[in-house]
Symmetry: D3
Subunit: 113 residues, 6 copies
């Protein structure tokens, strides 16, 4: 199983457990998370780019992976992804670079998938 | 002087001092900061929205103000700004809310300016 | 107006503006925020202490103030508050100390109110 | 070796090395860390819940695991743990969710241990 | 009263209140904080520069001010301070810049003091 | 391959990919990162200690590893490294301890290399 598949599988499996826990706050939070990225006054691609950049400055590899997957599905180009990477690394500083490395690895795995 | 003017004045004044310091690393970092938000494969409005959301999740009031000013200049609508606020507050959590309050105050001051 | 009153007034005023904005994600997030601290399997005082400590390690003065206000209403003792301060400052490190100073100032203002 | 055992073993082994290093500041910091969670005006269960929530909003998987282990020993219920998870995820936002997934996995491993 | 004096006064006043609170954990933490910056295998100037840079990347204005005051007392030059600023702003990214502005303002106030 | 070799190999491989991406902002940021730690008014060892401490308080294992490697090359002693660890753990709090454990493991691997 490659890194894209193993990421998606673990994520689905654990989300299912969390949502079966009967904690209403967590369920609603997950629900908001889905709704928030739906098309509105701001289009879906821009929202996913925002999600990607925020995940990167907050240095969450899994969140970066999730939004990279979404960007791939939506047809965001390699050049655009690198411009988002550049903004995030400039805002967040060189402490973000190790996450950039792992993001690049995942982005390449998505191209091959 | 209102909050928009006093923010801009302090920012300009201190940037000038920093750039007159002869530290080449800081000068280049400031230069990168300007170039990074220029139009490329990703358009300027999207880049400013990304800058705004990243500033919000990292909870920097001054950075939020700066990008709100840019969004205002670029004609970003009230509804769009609130959608960016919503993504940032969802990603960053309720700890971001005090910054949202100050962002709303500044955004309103920008409308009146 | 003392710091307790000015904090509460600004908070109420800005919350009202945010909730009148018609952004459904933000409204639901605010709603979750209220529900989350209601009594459940974990009692209200413990929840407010958790909110206080999390606010402190995340270094948000306004969030600290809000939870201190709630703790005061719920009858949390001075000794208990300092034990929560101690845990938060140990977990978050000496970078939290300036927020501890402002928390102590606000806590004292709450006693006088 | 399951994730609970391997976590505990690595933790013990490295703590021993750190404490044998003769750095007095680190030794005292470790000592404070132990004392801080002892019963006082705030009871031990509440302190561990605070430690768990703070670890979660600060997004430290190992710290989350440690406090989950303590909560398990102290008899904290599944419903209570999820209420603490909910507060932490609401305060810290959706960026905390990947840590929630790993926390749930560890919490389940603790039940089976 | 200038910003140097008002910072020092508030800091002393609140530290006194915290230390008079009889919370042993906080007292010991404050004590460690003092000991940690004493000369050892690493000299005092290097330790204060480390404290300054860490305060900057963690974006704590008060902590930055404290270490700037110490650096001034120890005779750290303007050029050296800017090199520390540069490292901190590169590691921490452009989100640190507003704190750099306030650091420069305070550093200048220290020269005039 | 031990942890030092595998860290260095992955780092080199991904840096190459990033630098071959033709994103001018990222290239310049990497270039600044190299220049920033060169000898200036502040010597190279102090700069690497600053880089190490900042990486630790920001809790980035890979950044910690990189600066530990540099410190080893520059002849920083075990006692000095532990003093830097102590400052970073005191400033950043007990949430840094899991990163300290991994830093100690890597530092020992560097001695054996």
């Amino acid at each position: 199983m490659n890194i894209v598949e193993s990421f998606n599988e673990y994520r689905s499996q654990m989300n299912e457990k969390i949502l079966s826990s009967d904690n209403i706050i967590l369920k609603r939070l997950f629900n908001l998370d889905t709704n928030c990225y739906a098309a509105g006054s701001v289009d879906v691609i821009t929202k996913e780019m925002i999600g990607l950049a925020c995940s990167m400055v907050l240095r969450c590899d899994d969140c970066v992976r999730y939004h990279l997957g979404k960007c791939k599905e939506l047809g965001v180009s390699n050049e655009q992804i690198y411009e988002v990477f550049a903004i995030a690394n400039l805002i967040g500083g060189t402490i973000v670079i190790p996450h950039l490395r792992r993001a690049v690895e995942y982005w390449e795995a998505l191209q091959e998938a």
